[in-house]
Amino acid sequence: MTATRDLVVEMSALSKWYGQHHVLRDVTLGLARGEKIVLCGPSGSGKSTLIRCINGLEPFHQGDLVVSGTHLDGTPASLAAVRRTAGMVFQSFNLFPHLSVLENLTLGAIYAKGEPERDAIARAHSLLARVQLTSQAQKYPGQLSGGQRQRVAIARALMLEPEVMLFDEPTSALDPEMVHEVLDVMEELARGGQSMIVVTHEMGFARKVADLVVFMDQGEIVEAAPPEQFFQAPSTARAKAFLGQISHAT
């Protein structure tokens, strides 16, 4: 069944606890190749934890997770294999402040993949052009604006040539005037057929880009539907309440 649907991420009955607290409750979802899932929900609903499980930054306790054919079972080999094919973009950028923009991009390629430095630099330059930061290669992250930093972080994740891109609230730490430049880059990526899972509160982005909107609350998936259906006719009371709260904010 996996082969016919060509899933990049396949998660079944995933559970995780923080102490006694059941933070992910039997979460089951699949991301088909080339499609985009937007995860939304109130803070504390487990969406960040979920996305961090996918590339092994958080361990989980029960259930199954297969990322581009690799069964993530917590062994170093499976972690390494998954991290080679999943690119991650964090809310707080997490760029390496002591390295130039170019070095931020090439570090993983050179030291994790063993790619020749010259090839890595060439690829980095073309990715910087793609996120419209051609002239910033020699600068340090501290010299860039928030929006530029996040675009560097996206380019850094793309250096992996990932089968899936994971975005963990990529615009939440940005000043409002910089949000659109990051969303533009993400939309461009989506149009190029990149499979991705995005945790975000940007409902405009979800409407435009998502194939599936997944609404989480208290560690469980409450509702999953295509954007038109989810935004126009949410079927659960919790989703309705959530949409009511965030529409007031925008």
């Binding site: 590339n55 092994g56 930054l57 390494a80 991290r83 080679r84 999943a86 690119g87 991650m88 964090f90 707080s92 950028f93 997490n94 760029l95 390496f96 402040p97 002591h98 570090l107 993983g108 030291y111 994790a112 993949k113 340090y140 992250p141 501290g142 010299q143 860039l144 930093r149 850094r156 994740a157 250096m159 992996l160 730490a173």
Partner: protein, 374 residues
């Protein structure tokens, strides 16, 4: 609609201009720093007066009434009211080179010149960091070879005769060169997820920190040989040096650990997400940032290591201070100990200040380059 608000704001539309004279210049400085109130003005005046009197006495004793040259075993010094700097001219060879054979002391001179020259070169940015470090390694090894002799027709000189500033430099260099890498290993090991590694590191750090340096040096130099097999003889200097290295490492390890904790968790996570293994994450991402953060505290330890070399004199190894003490035993000059110690004090002061200035320059370099990219 409500009535027009009573609060208001006017657009300003003014080009930027210089601040008013009251916030810059000499008068502003005097007013804000020295005379901002009558009481502050009074204190400024009183402290200024005390300082002036003290400076006048120091000037008179150390320069105006001082004796710079006193042949005939310091005869001129005995009638002078000022300082007797002639003692330095008389004893500087012993102070700088200790008990090292007199005709061979040029070797020590070469070593001192080499360290100062490379120190000055390292303070500039003419060479890349690896070049500076490689140079230091070379200077260190050459110093030991030159002082020990036995090569290229140089007379061998046992470590028991090594002394003065060259010995101070070598003890210090060895402490930092061996101690810093060990400190990093201990700090990283203390944060390891492997319990045996972690507990070994904690035991070493806490054990060593719980013991005075003096006790550690006594143990290494005097007690340790009793436990070693009789056919295994390790030079006293090396044994004491190992004690110094471990002592330095235990303290510096805690400093480095502080730096490791100050690096945000997200840095390691981002490196993990790029698929980097533990070693690459440490060497390329976490440690460079951690060490940059702790440069000021590390230089504190490094400068202390320089001053701790003085402990070697209790083991019969005469560093600069020990050599000075020995030099001032001479009955003709024994009463001019103050001058001798002031000389050594200035020597330490200049070398330590240079080190702290160097540390500050590294810190500035880090700050200008690495601004936090939250």
């Amino acid at each position: 609609m409500s009535a027009a608000p009573r609060s208001f704001a006017h657009p300003s539309a003014v080009a930027p201009r210089r601040p008013p004279a009251a916030v810059r210049g000499m008068r502003a400085f005097l007013r804000t720093h020295l005379f901002q109130s009558p009481l502050a003005g009074l204190f400024t005046f009183l402290l200024g007066a005390v300082l002036s009197v003290a400076l006048w006495h120091i000037l008179r004793w150390s320069i105006l009434d001082a004796v710079w040259y006193a042949p005939d075993k310091g005869a001129a010094c005995r009638v002078a009211t000022g300082a007797c700097w002639a003692v330095i001219a008389e004893k500087y060879r012993v102070i700088l080179f200790g008990a090292y054979p007199y005709e061979q002391q040029w070797r020590g001179g070469v070593i001192i010149a080499g360290w100062l020259a490379w120190g000055a070169l390292s303070a500039t940015s003419l060479l890349p960091v690896w070049g500076r470090l490689a140079g230091w390694a070379g200077v260190f090894v050459l110093s030991i070879l030159l002082l020990g002799g036995g090569l290229f027709g140089l007379m061998p000189v046992g470590t028991d005769l090594w002394g003065g500033l060259p010995l101070t430099f070598i003890i210090f260099g060895g402490t930092v060169a061996g101690g810093l890498p060990l400190a990093i290993l201990l700090a990283v090991g203390r944060r390891s997820e492997l319990p045996v590694v972690r507990w070994l590191c904690i035991l070493t750090i806490e054990g060593v920190r719980g013991v005075p340096l003096l006790a550690l040096l006594f143990f290494a130099a005097l007690i340790l040989p009793l436990f070693l097999p009789p056919n295994l003889t390790v030079d006293k200097l090396i044994r004491a040096e190992i004690g110094m290295i471990i002592f330095f490492a235990a303290y510096a390890a805690e400093v480095v650990r502080g730096g490791l904790q100050a690096v945000p968790e997200g840095q390691d996570e981002a490196a993990k997400a790029l698929g980097l293994g533990y070693g690459a994450r440490m060497v390329k991402v976490v440690l460079p940032q951690a060490l940059a953060i702790v440069v000021p505290a590390l230089f504190n330890d490094i400068i202390r290591a320089f001053k701790n070399t003085t402990f070697f004199s209790i083991l019969g190894l005469f560093d600069v201070l020990g050599a000075t003490k020995a030099a001032l035993q001479d009955p003709n000059w024994v009463r001019y100990g103050t001058e001798g110690y002031i000389f050594v004090f200035l020597l330490y002061f200049i070398l330590c200040s240079a080190m702290s200035a160097y540390g500050a320059s590294i810190e500035r370099g880090n700050q200008s380059r690495v601004r936090r990219a939250a």
